[in-house]
């Protein structure tokens, strides 16, 4: 990305005339400053203006949105305990005592024990780490792969676009869970990587499609033509002009998708093809606990509840982000 010129901010305290919106809108909704230096014109009073980028406007909207605040706090909490689970639990999730299997809540073990005698509370906490890791890494992978491919297809059009669209069509046709069962059953590793790889493999078309559409829309704006008329190279147009303006829908979809990827990992682990022991995953716990739901519901409830809350938090975040970015999208 070309370096941003560090224009110094002058503390201009010059008189500022009243703001107004230009032609086209019957209502001057734009606040802030209009900066007319007409010779000899009187300059009235108006709100003092500071540079206000569209991103900072969006952030301002976001900050005031209660949905964002709540989901943000939940996610922050989840991220913290993913990195430092020892903050709220001092036990080892793999340290299980069969003798205590299925026992209910006890001092020091607020959620009781699961079928293997492992502490449900600790396993739930460590499960967060898995979910967050899988969710974040998958989303990053999907966004990069889908964003780049979709963006290039939208930018260049023509044959690139035709080929990419057909490829995405193929991938869209693959049922996700079924594909997971087939693909992951041959994998023996019990780490998160196969699952992440699979999610990225099947998830990128969705982002690619969004990115492609968004780039095509951005491309039609005059300022892209203006850059071309100046002699801008393709990389410059893509990075400086198109990407910053096309990225907002991608961000929104990716944030919401994060929630669904967490849920997908849990599903695959539940089915036995996702993560496998000794990895700790809510899906695994839910699967193991489902047969005991009558007798010892606590084994199922806590991991399932944690999963639900986590997914909900990310989806709410995505909603709030969409609301903040939407009105600014042009």
């Amino acid at each position: 990305m070309p370096e941003q010129k560090p224009w110094d901010e002058t503390t201009g305290s010059g008189a500022i005339s009243g703001a107004g919106a230009g032609g086209g809108m019957d209502l001057a909704m734009d606040e802030g400053v209009t900066l007319e230096k007409t010779p000899g014109g009187p300059e009235g009073t108006g709100p003092a203006g500071k540079p206000r980028s569209l991103w900072s406007d969006a952030w301002r909207d976001l900050r005031r949105n209660p949905v964002f605040i709540i989901s943000g706090l939940v996610i922050l909490f989840l991220v913290i305990i993913s990195i430092w689970p020892s903050l709220i639990t001092d036990q080892d999730p793999l340290n299980c005592d069969l003798a205590k299997a299925q026992e209910g809540s006890q001092p020091g073990h607020p959620f009781g024990f699961d079928g293997q005698g492992c502490d449900v509370y600790t396993r739930t906490v460590y499960g967060a780490r898995t979910s967050v890791t899988v969710g974040v890494l998958s989303t990053v992978g999907v966004s990069l792969l889908g964003g780049v491919l979709g963006g290039l297809a939208g930018f260049f059009g023509g044959a690139w676009d035709a080929v990419l669209s057909r490829i995405t069509d193929v991938f869209f046709g693959i049922p996700v869970v079924l594909g997971g069962l087939v693909f992951l059953s041959v994998v023996t590793s019990s780490t998160v990587w196969p699952v992440i790889g699979f999610i990225v493999l099947l998830g990128w078309p969705q982002i690619a499609r969004i990115a492609r559409g968004s780039v095509i829309t951005a491309k039609q704006n005059d300022y892209v033509q203006a850059a071309r008329a100046l002699g801008a190279s393709n990389p410059r147009m893509m990075l400086r002009h198109i990407m910053p303006n096309a990225i907002a829908p991608v961000i929104v979809v990716a944030t919401i998708a994060l929630g669904t990827y967490i849920s997908l990992e849990a599903t695959l682990s539940y089915l036995g093809v996702g993560l496998k022991p000794p990895a700790v995953s809510w899906g695994i716990d839910i699967s193991a606990a489902s047969q005991y739901v009558r007798n010892a519901p606590h084994m199922l409830l806590w991991p399932a509840g944690a999963l639900a809350v986590t997914v909900l938090a990310f989806i709410m975040l995505g909603d709030a982000v969409r609301d903040a970015l939407d009105p600014k999208l042009r």
């Binding site: 005339s17 107004g20 019957d26 209502l27 209009t34």
Partner: protein
């Protein structure tokens, strides 16, 4: 008096404050008369029209005062169903962009016919015949063959005529046309305006023409109301205002438009910009841009002074403005 707007106030509540879009507007239209409402962006002309029609977005908009008397009844006091009935049958509106005002998935005949099916209880067959009749009236060629066509199959000028046909279908008493020809080419514009004028004469309707184009106004209007920052700053019969404007804003506008029949060296330009409706300047809203502004203009809001029997001007110095002709 067909329509009388009295002291209308409309506000918009935004997260940055209250924008006063309409600040005490008064105007009236008689039967068979054409009132042109002239103003630029932010003047409040469209908002006033929307308030009259009752199609204002009520959050964030809000009618905070005034009366809208239509054939003697205050529309603002009517029940919603009653208001809707008036809107459908007695008043109609024509918008700027016909393509987005017409439903793209319904044929033109269906959209026109719907008016009759819904409001007059006609059968589909009768309604279709009526639709063809309307299309003929607005001079769409080969109406019988084209009644099944969709909006995108018509040119811009034709679409605008279809909009006019829809507006006229139930023979309303009042038509509000919000920038009906701004998006059209000049030759088409001429055709459409001529059609509108003719139909108005035929049906003896009142017409409110909202525009920023002083040329169009000169052709069709009987009287003009000039709006600025949500207020009426001048009203006058059309001939007088071009020869001798009584408000500096009107004067500035007239001066600043380039004329086809003249080539000047430099255009007169009103300095400055229209005000932010969140922070309207105190006193006369125009004073920061006015070449004649004095101390009193900064503090006292000018009322609509009487210039003569039919002319009003909201300027403390209307006399000087008039005389400086």
């Amino acid at each position: 008096m067909l329509l009388e707007v009295r002291d209308l106030h409309v506000e918009f509540h935004t997260r940055d404050g209250v924008a006063k879009a309409v600040n005490g507007v008064n105007y009236s239209v008689a039967e068979g008369e054409t009132l042109a409402v002239l103003g630029e962006s932010g003047s409040g002309k469209s908002v006033t029209a929307q308030a009259i029609m009752g199609i204002l977005d009520t959050p964030p908009g809000k009618i905070s005062g005034g009366e809208i008397l239509f054939q003697g009844r205050d529309l603002l006091k009517l029940k919603p169903e009653e208001r809707r009935r008036v809107r459908g049958q007695e008043m109609a509106m024509i918008f700027q962009d016909a393509l987005s005002s017409l439903n793209p998935v319904l044929s033109v005949g269906e959209q026109l016919g719907e008016m009759f099916v819904v409001h007059r209880g006609m059968s589909r067959g009768d309604a279709k015949a009526k639709a063809i009749e309307l299309m003929d009236r607005v001079r769409i060629p080969a109406a019988r063959e084209r009644v099944g066509n969709f909006p995108h199959q018509f040119s811009g000028g034709m679409r605008q005529r279809i909009m006019i046909a829809m507006a006229l279908a139930l023979e309303p008493d009042l038509i509000i046309a919000d920038e009906p020809t701004t998006a059209l080419d000049v030759t088409v514009q001429a055709q459409v305006m001529e059609l509108l004028a003719e139909l108005q004469r035929e049906l003896n309707m009142g017409l409110i023409l909202i525009t920023h184009d002083l040329g169009v106004v000169a052709d069709v209007a009987d009287k003009i109301a000039v709006m600025y920052a949500g207020r009426i700053v001048e009203t006058s019969p059309v001939h007088d205002i071009y020869e001798a404007p009584a408000h500096p804003y009107t004067k500035g506008l007239l001066r600043s438009i380039p004329r086809l029949d003249q080539k000047g060296r430099e255009l007169y330009a009103i300095k400055g910009l229209p005000p932010n409706l969140l922070h309207i300047p105190p006193g006369c809203a125009f004073h920061p841009r006015c070449p004649m502004a004095q101390a009193v203009c900064r503090t006292d809001v000018p009322p609509l002074y009487t210039v003569d029997e039919e002319r009003r001007s909201a300027c403390h110095f209307w006399k000087e403005t008039l005389d400086a002709r």
